[in-house]
């Protein structure tokens, strides 16, 4: 009797807790707890809210409802892998692991399981080479595009001449923070600037030595690859030594509202790269407010709508939804599989006209994914913080990065991975 009750309760729980098999399932490996929760919460909210919007406004994608089961990783690689293993049986179509560490662990697993990974603006940079990384997509931009975009911006400010300029890369002392070094080194050889790299160990609450060095060396520009509390401390220390904020440029993971607000108005002028629009002045946010937030169906309390990281979650969800739609078109079925989803990602085309239809005109660049190019255009804009107004503004268009320098680096790194793992090129 007891066994029967337990069995019945288990079946009931599974029916309630698991999505219906026909739903389109996009698990969200989120981190709402732990030291990086301030960034993880708005991203997870944006991702979930956009999918909810599709369900509420459009009846899902191609008439099929979308499910976003969340699994908490706390930004921990082991927990992330556990989340992948525990959710893939739900019929997961794609994963957006939201962590470079988790991504590295999942690349071989997901490839073997025929489930695509979507890692916009993070993860393994050379996964842009679809010829080697058949199941990984990191469009529209990666860290090497970011490094190039920062240098392009600095070139624009200096009439295209950086000879003799001093540029410092202040970075997290780990794989993520070291990613831009090869690109910046190559670009330094090309443009004639002196590059100094200054690492910061995790968690980065104490950066006195680094900023005293910057004060002594007086670099013309400081580029910054940080995450978590490291961001807030770096921006505060820059203000403390009165480093010109408009010469301090962070990567997109160092450019959220919560990174600059602790420094108050002293952070005004700080710049960051971005691969998507800022603010909520796009029609899609009106729909999010109407169909999701006001309807009481938002993942959070709605206060993050239009913030940098929330927007990034929305953008990632939009890309996956568009790829799912493309997969439905290609295969002529509404209930797609993860293998079909991979095809949708690989043939995705984002046009300005489509962005306008989605209520996101100008929110991101137009581009086309291909078998060989999973990295997209690498088009990046620069945003700048206005402390008095308390908001970011785009100060440039989405500009192309220097693929003459980046492509050989992608080819070399992916070729090494292919050799290590006996991977045959997938594109003819």
């Amino acid at each position: 009797m007891t066994f029967k009750r337990v069995a019945a309760a288990s079946v009931a729980a599974l029916m309630v807790g698991s999505p219906v098999m026909a739903d389109l399932v996009f698990p969200s490996l989120s981190y709402r707890t732990g030291p990086f929760a301030a960034g993880g919460i708005p991203y997870a909210d944006g991702f979930a809210d956009y999918m909810t919007l599709l369900n509420e406004r459009d009846g899902g994608i191609g008439g099929v409802a979308v499910q976003v089961p969340e699994c908490e990783t706390a930004y921990n690689t082991e927990k992330g892998v556990e989340c992948y293993e525990s959710t893939k049986g739900m019929g997961a179509l794609a994963y957006n692991p939201l962590s470079t560490g988790i991504t590295y662990q999942l690349i071989p697993k997901a490839t073997a399981d025929d489930i695509p990974l979507y890692t916009p603006g993070y993860g393994r940079t050379s996964a842009a080479n679809g010829n080697v990384f058949s199941h990984v997509f990191n469009f529209p931009a990666n860290y090497w595009n970011g490094a190039s975009a920062a240098i392009n911006h600095v070139l624009d400010l200096n009439n295209g001449d950086l000879k003799g300029k001093k540029i410092v890369l202040l970075h997290f002392n780990g794989a993520y923070g070291k990613e831009p070094i090869p690109t910046l080194t190559k670009l330094g050889e090309k443009h004639g600037y002196d590059l100094t790299t200054i690492p910061i160990d995790y968690p980065g609450q104490e950066q006195k030595a680094q900023w005293l060095q910057i004060r002594r060396e007086k670099p013309d520009y400081v580029l910054f690859w940080g995450w978590g509390v490291m961001n807030q401390v770096a921006i505060q220390e820059a203000a403390n030594i009165r480093y010109p904020m408009d010469q301090f440029i962070g990567v997109w993971w160092s450019g959220a509202e919560h990174d600059v607000k602790p420094a108050g108005e002293k952070a005004t002028g700080y710049k960051a790269m971005t691969f998507h629009g800022v603010g909520s002045d796009y029609p899609v946010f009106g729909d999010l407010q109407k169909y999701v937030v006001d309807a009481g169906k938002a993942a959070g309390d709605g206060s993050n709508v239009g913030t940098v990281i929330y927007n990034r979650g929305v953008y990632a969800a939009m890309m996956l939804a568009e790829a799912a739609k493309k997969a439905q078109e290609i295969h002529g079925v509404a209930d797609i599989t993860s293998a079909q989803m991979r095809d949708g990602l690989e043939q995705l085309e984002i046009t300005n006209a489509r962005m306008a239809e989605l209520g996101m005109e100008g929110f991101g660049p137009e581009f086309k994914v291909s078998c060989a190019n999973h990295g997209g255009p690498g088009a990046i804009a620069i945003q700048q913080w206005d402390g008095a107004a308390g908001k970011w503004s785009l100060i440039s268009d989405f500009g192309a990065s220097d693929m003459d320098v980046i492509q050989p680096l992608i080819d070399a790194d992916s070729a090494a991975y292919a050799a290590e793992n006996n991977i045959e090129p997938q594109c003819n």
């Binding site: 995790y202 203000a239 919560h258 602790p262 309390d301």
Partner: protein, 328 residues
């Protein structure tokens, strides 16, 4: 004067200032260890909880708003008022006394007479509990802490040193405030333990629990008292560190900076925490300045522990710690 020597002097001064901030965190550990023999693993979380409570009260945030909204479908976040800084500090201090009372009543009281390792394990449990409880109460956002403390380069020192050496030294105003506050705090703690009845009782408990009990000292009162003081010290540390980075859960990791200070200064000495902090602060900054560039930089995180380890080998009880001799 050679440029490198000037830079080294600036780094040394900044190391001293950083050391004061480490010492502020270490003080909380010392107070509890001295009075109860417990290595309080949760001290870093006390810093976070104290600072979050201060900002939450100051900005009129409703505690557990997210939980309330989820359960009742409401959309409440703030009371609609702000509280003056001094009053908010008093309320946060009172909250830390309440936390001390809860810890004593619901945890420590049940573990009297247990081995030290059990008490240590209990503080690990407290750390994890508070790691979840603090964000549940105040949210996971990065909270801006503004209690009116000056931050940024001290103009007087910059101008004066420029006049002397042709190079202006950077000293952060916040670090100067932290040094003054730490000095006042240590003086107050020493006076309290030397010249008040409760302070003497605290020292008696620190020397011998059983003997203190036998002369009528209430162990429960002393534990609440010492955890309250440690909570207040955590609040001060939280204000200083939180002013730099905003208040967030990762503030708990400042405890990592206190460990080498304790190893060096000793777990039972208040002056030891200060001296240990200064040695660690100067040592790690000078090492980063002189050797860091040769070994790829970012040496602060590990050098402090190496320095403490060297001291530990030659003086296991730390510079000012008491040598424990147990006779069979």
């Amino acid at each position: 004067m050679p440029e490198q020597l000037l830079f080294a002097m600036e780094v040394t001064l900044n190391g001293l200032m950083a050391g004061v901030l480490y010492a502020l965190v270490a003080l909380g550990f010392v107070l509890i260890f001295k009075a109860s023999g417990i290595f309080n693993f949760a001290q870093g979380m006390l810093v976070v909880f104290a600072a979050m409570t201060l900002v939450g009260v100051q900005t009129g945030q409703i505690p557990f708003a997210h939980l309330i909204n989820t359960i009742f479908g409401t959309k409440i976040h703030h009371f609609g008022w702000t509280v003056p800084t001094i009053l908010a500090i008093i309320v946060a201090g009172a909250a830390m006394v309440f936390v001390a009372w809860v810890i004593e009543k619901y945890i420590l009281q049940h573990l009297i007479g247990q081995p030290d390792i059990i008490l240590f394990m209990a503080t690990i449990g407290m750390w994890y509990f508070m790691h979840g409880f603090a964000p549940l109460m105040w949210g996971s956002e990065v909270m801006k802490l503004d209690v009116g403390l000056a931050q940024g380069i001290n103009e007087t020192i910059d101008t004066t040193t420029y006049g002397w050496f042709g190079y202006g030294f950077f000293i952060d105003n916040l670090d100067i405030v932290a040094a003054i506050v730490a000095a006042l705090l240590v003086t107050a703690l020493v006076l309290f333990s030397q010249y008040t009845k409760q302070g003497r009782a605290l020292r008696a408990v620190a020397d011998d629990h059983s003997a203190a009990l036998s002369v009528g000292i209430s162990l429960r009162f002393i534990w609440v008292l010492v955890w309250s003081i440690a909570g207040f010290v955590a609040l001060v540390a939280g204000i200083m560190w939180g002013s730099k980075s905003g208040v967030q859960i990762s503030l708990a990791e400042v405890a990592l900076k206190a460990l080498p200070v304790l190893m060096l200064g000793g777990f039972t000495s208040i002056p030891g925490a200060i001296i240990g902090g200064l040695i660690i602060g100067v040592g790690e900054q000078l090492f980063e300045f002189a050797i860091g560039p040769l070994v790829g930089g970012a040496t602060q995180a590990w050098f402090a522990y190496v320095l403490a380890l060297v001291f530990l080998i030659f003086r296991p009880q730390g510079l000012f710690g008491e040598k424990i001799i147990e006779r069979v």
